[in-house]
């Protein structure tokens, strides 16, 4: 039981990452009818917003310490971040420590801008083109974006730690009457899960309760009719693209401390999140979220040792097995609508 609880926790966390990306993909697909293969790259760009901000915060001036030598035997140059010298080591250090949460503020405008530019500059020319073309062009864009990041940041992962307060893990087991160390969970992952829930809830609330959201939902259901009503749906869709980019971006920011960002992290997520979206049913927001959590939890279960003993290698393929079973039993995924991307 304890092992199951533990894996549910892990699954919720993995699932929230899948759900967030799938949500953004579905928003774009549902509103604009575009299959966006560059969505993973937006997630990656978000993570690199965190990297960039912490680079900016740690911009340093060099002083020479004669007592130490560097690897070539020259006097060592010691770097001190400007922030620390301006605000003193105490405050400055704290600012640097909180770089990742601060990056959200930085990432939102950056990602919205990137989203706007992408939509106006490229995507809008592909609304009436076949899905295959959309896939190809966004895939090309994804390659370009990640290669640019590789060019500036290198191919290696870049450590982007969470603030010190969130280091370590919380012992759930003790709370539930188990022995210590049986069910532990890192604080930052809890933060990530809560954060994802809030974002997902926020997006749903936005679509449900604002006029803007209602128009967008109507547009998702029937684009032409809304267009006929004289509502400038295009402008709203541009905004939706910006919103989806921002959601992907801040998901990436918050994910950075969990796994050090690297330039191809977007591609790693892309295929899985597409599976998630399709299993959820094309164009269905609740479906995407549901499928994200479901696959995350099942993936965690599949990594349990006794299950792996019964079916070797099941953790390698579980997502695909589940996807196949669901698509064969439910023709349009969990909550897909008829006629969406079926031809």
């Amino acid at each position: 039981m304890d092992a199951v609880l533990l894996q549910i926790l892990n699954g919720l966390d993995k699932g929230s990452a899948y759900a967030l990306i799938a949500l953004g993909l579905t928003l774009i697909f549902g509103t604009l009818g575009v299959v966006n293969f560059a969505h993973g790259a937006l997630f990656m760009l978000g993570a690199f917003c965190a990297v960039t901000l912490s680079r900016i915060l740690t911009l340093s001036f060099e002083t020479i310490d004669e007592t130490k030598v560097d690897f070539l035997g020259n006097p060592l140059k010691v770097k001190t971040p400007y922030v620390e010298s301006w605000f003193g080591p105490e405050t400055g250090g704290a600012i640097i420590d909180w770089a990742v949460p601060l990056s959200i503020l930085f990432a939102i405008p950056v990602m919205i801008t990137i989203g706007f530019i992408m939509e106006r500059g490229l995507i809008k020319h592909f609304y009436k083109r076949p899905h295959a073309d959309q896939i190809l062009v966004t895939f090309g864009l994804a390659i370009v974006l990640q290669e640019l990041i590789k060019y500036f940041f290198g191919a290696n992962p870049i450590p982007t730690p969470a603030p010190d307060v969130f280091k370590g893990s919380f012992d759930f087991g003790v709370l539930l009457g188990y022995d210590p160390n049986v069910i532990i969970y890192p604080y930052w992952r809890m933060v990530y899960f809560l954060f994802s829930t809030i974002i997902i809830g926020g997006v749903f609330a936005f679509l449900q309760f604002t006029t803007f959201g209602m128009v967008v939902r109507a547009g998702m259901a029937d684009r032409e009719t809304v267009g006929l009503l004289g509502i400038n749906i295009d402008k709203r869709f541009t905004f939706m693209f910006g919103l989806a980019a921002a959601v992907a971006g801040i998901a990436g920011v918050m994910y950075a401390p969990i796994n050090s960002p690297n330039y191809h992290m977007g591609m790693d997520f892309l295929v899985l999140s597409f599976v998630v979206v399709v299993v959820g049913g094309m164009g269905s927001l609740p479906g995407a979220v549901l499928a994200g959590f479901m696959l995350g939890i099942l993936e965690s279960f599949a990594s349990m040792n006794w299950i792996k003993d019964i079916i070797p290698g099941i953790d390698q393929i579980i997502i695909y097995v589940v996807a196949i079973i669901i698509l064969l039993t439910r023709p349009r995924g969990l909550m897909g609508r008829k006629g969406v991307m079926e031809d």
């Binding site: 697909f29 549902g30 009818g33 299959v35 490229l122 020319h125 609304y127 009436k128 083109r129 076949p130 899905h131 295959a132 073309d133 896939i135 190809l136 062009v137 895939f139 090309g140 864009l141 994804a142 390659i143 370009v144 290669e147 640019l148 060019y151 998702m220 259901a221 029937d222 684009r223 295929v271 597409f274 599976v275 399709v278 299993v279 094309m282 164009g283 070797p312 290698g313 390698q316 393929i317 997502i319 695909y320 097995v321 996807a323 196949i324 698509l327 064969l328 023709p331 349009r332 995924g333 006629g339 969406v340 991307m341 079926e342 031809d343």
Partner: protein, 407 residues
Amino acid sequence: MLGISKKDMTILLVVIVLALCAPFILNPFPTGSAMAQFNAGYPDLMQRFVIFGIFAIGFNILFGLTGYLSFGHAAFLGVGSYSAVWMFKLLSMNVVPAILLSMIVAGLFSVLIGYVSLRRSGIYFSILTLAFAQMSFNLAYSVLTPITNGETGLQLTLSDKRYLGQSVTESGSIPVTNFFGLEMRSTYDLAVGGWNFQFNAGYYLCAIIMIVAFYVSMRIFRSPFGLMLRAVKSNQQRLNYTGINPKPYTLAAFVISGIYAGLAGGLMASMDPLAGAERMQWTASGEVVLMTILGGAGTLIGPVLGAGFIKYFENIFSKINDTVLHQWFAFMPDGLEDVVVFIVHPFVGKGWHLTLGILFMLVVTFLPGGLVEGGQRIAKLFKREKAPAVPPSDPEHHPKETPHVAE
């Protein structure tokens, strides 16, 4: 002649000439010149051109005609390669049984996957094929290592039993693949002036098979069967109400393209007896999709062009390094040379992905019909100078944009 029209005959002849003269065409620059970097006329790359050409031709029969976008075709290529290498390990180094087995195994595998996946259409079909292929890849890389040799890839060893052949040659090495005694790796060099042309036995085997494969696909395109496949893409509802069952047609197309993929895989293993699991990864499936769309989906020759285009980038652009750049621009004054190298540098060598990505975007944005459309536009420009453009009468060469906006 050969049951095809005069126009098709011309296309076929062009393909034959291009394939047979590839060692000349792909080596336009003298060996010593700075531009020799762009020469692609060496056996390995020429083989890859035609092998991936076969793969893309087959994929086009499914995707170009029926519109079913499979994201898992690399699995059939991989399965084909593994069967071929096993044939080399167990039977003989002759490529014929290996290639036949790879086609049969890939065909059976595609019947299985196709039968299940074709129960769904559109993106649901795509994801089903993707899931099957990724499962194959993940398992081949890890759990199935006894069969696939996992990470390294299945290779020949000195201890292989070969029931119809020798395990080890007299000189103590692994025997090489051959076509009834003709070694696949034997190459004749022709030196003409500064040029050096290489004629490789393996390449010509692949090229001849590719020509046959191209001819078969041409016949399929022009056949009633091909017409039905295009009808599937155009309007399945109407097809159903016209008394035609689309299922066996799509399944047949799926299996044919699977066999083509298996053939390509078998040929790959015959040219270089190693089968790596990465061949089955989704990126490899994605690559053939890109080749087909880039060249022009639904056109006869497009996939071959697309395959050549991508493989050229992968193998030629990735090898341009700074030293080469400095050689090229050595004629410039020093400062300028550095600036130019600095500008070009991100796009070549380790940046070849970047260039490829940019080219994808450009081609898709400006040439919706792929490279074939680019060719047609150029041809039209020339025609316009002579006479007013004649409205095209061949529908296959003018893939229509079909708006698929979701709802």
